[in-house]
């Protein structure tokens, strides 16, 4: 039981304590050298190659991107996100926060980049829109979401579960696209990969730190 002296000391120490919560679990995992750490290396190499081609610096991809530090989306994109909730029953409103939409450049395997706009939702999920491709909203904690069309796969993985993604092809080959990790409140990694039209992936597999399968989704792609 706390006496008056205890209370006095507790109050004085509490007044000096820094309340800022700048924790970053993704950074801990990266320092621990999990599979994501190796992913950073892949990304760094891809970024370095891309830098040679286009003369840009991609070094910042070696880190988790701070969501709130990212560039805000333009007005038309915010309005597009607002339209997700327009005219739908409240049960189906994804609860997006369009005013907090941010723009991210995701780097692909060969250093190419695609833009994805991401907004948090009130329930811990997120809404996203890949420029000139597709968009949608995802509930919190979903291990994998993806879209596929015209050879392009875009998607994201829950950072708490997944550390890497594999695209598996009918001929047995596997592609591991780089992942661009975004900090809380999103706490997901975004990826894309363009396959040749002749060979579409048949499965997307999310792996954890230990290389164990977290989830595997089959792609129903016609001939």
């Amino acid at each position: 039981m706390m006496d008056a002296g205890d209370r006095l000391l507790a109050e004085r120490f509490a007044a000096l304590a820094d309340p800022l919560d700048d924790s970053d679990w993704l950074d801990v995992r990266r320092r621990a050298g999990d599979r994501r750490g190796r992913t950073w290396l892949v990304v760094a190499i891809a970024a370095a190659l891309a830098a040679l081609v286009v003369g840009s610096a991609f070094a910042y991809y070696a880190d988790v991107i701070d969501f709130f530090g990212a560039e805000k989306a333009p007005r038309e994109t915010v309005e597009f996100f607002e339209s997700f909730a327009t005219g739908v029953h409240s049960d189906f409103d994804p609860g997006g926060i369009p005013g907090e939409t941010r723009r991210f450049e995701v780097t692909g395997l060969n250093g190419e980049q695609r833009t994805v706009f991401v907004a948090p939702t009130k329930t811990g999920g997120h809404c996203h829109f890949w420029e000139r491709f597709s968009g949608g909203c995802v509930r919190a904690g979903m291990p994998l979401e993806f879209s596929y069309g015209r050879g392009l796969v875009t998607g994201s993985v829950n950072a708490r579960d997944g550390a890497s993604v594999e695209l598996r092809y009918p001929d047995g080959s596997v592609v591991e696209p780089p992942i661009t990790w975004i900090s809380p409140p999103i706490e997901r990694g975004f990826f894309f990969h363009m396959s040749t039209e002749q060979q579409a992936p048949t499965a997307i597999v999310v792996l954890d730190d230990d290389g164990e399968v977290v989830t595997e989704q089959q792609l129903a792609v016609g001939p």
Binding site: L9, A10, D18, R31
Partner: protein, 157 residues
């Protein structure tokens, strides 16, 4: 111990650990770095946790050693001999800072672990490798000394 257990401790204790370590590192950035690195080490070496002490205490010891390594570049120095924790930003409460200076470094550490890291007596005992009874006695004497010094200083100022 599983990664989820370590993540739970991280999410519950991060701020407290960082604030307690600031008293050792003297800098919030260095304290943050020590906490991050300590949890990364805990993840890498999870199989070394024997469950003989609370997980929080095991990780805090790693964090303390990490902070000292960064400060002294000498991991062989016994923890208690190397410690001289001080209140960060003493100007914000000069009377408390002065009162703390009258305590031994080990008592100061115990006080900081109690009030900044919010560790329980058993967690402090495990973190400092002393008995729970010693923690209770040290805290009681430290609190008494602090309150007496604060009263004395407030009377004279």
């Amino acid at each position: 111990v599983s990664r989820d257990d370590i993540e739970r401790v991280y999410r519950e204790r991060y701020v407290g650990f960082r604030n307690a370590l600031v008293t050792v590192t003297g800098s919030s950035d260095a304290a943050r770095d020590a906490v991050q690195e300590a949890f990364a080490r805990a993840l890498r070496n999870a199989d070394q946790f024997r469950g003989e002490a609370p997980l929080e205490a095991w990780i805090f010891r790693i964090a303390l050693r990490t902070a000292l390594e960064a400060r002294q570049a000498n991991s062989e120095v016994p923890l208690h001999d190397a410690l001289d924790p001080t209140l960060p930003e003493p100007d914000r409460d000069p009377q408390l800072a002065a009162a703390l200076r009258e305590l031994s470094p080990r008592r100061r550490l115990i006080v900081f672990l109690r009030y900044f890291a919010d560790l329980s007596y058993s967690e402090i005992a495990a973190a400092c490798e002393i008995s729970e009874g010693t923690v209770a006695a040290s805290l009681a004497q430290a609190k008494s000394a602090l309150l007496e010094a604060l009263e004395r200083n407030e009377v004279t100022t």
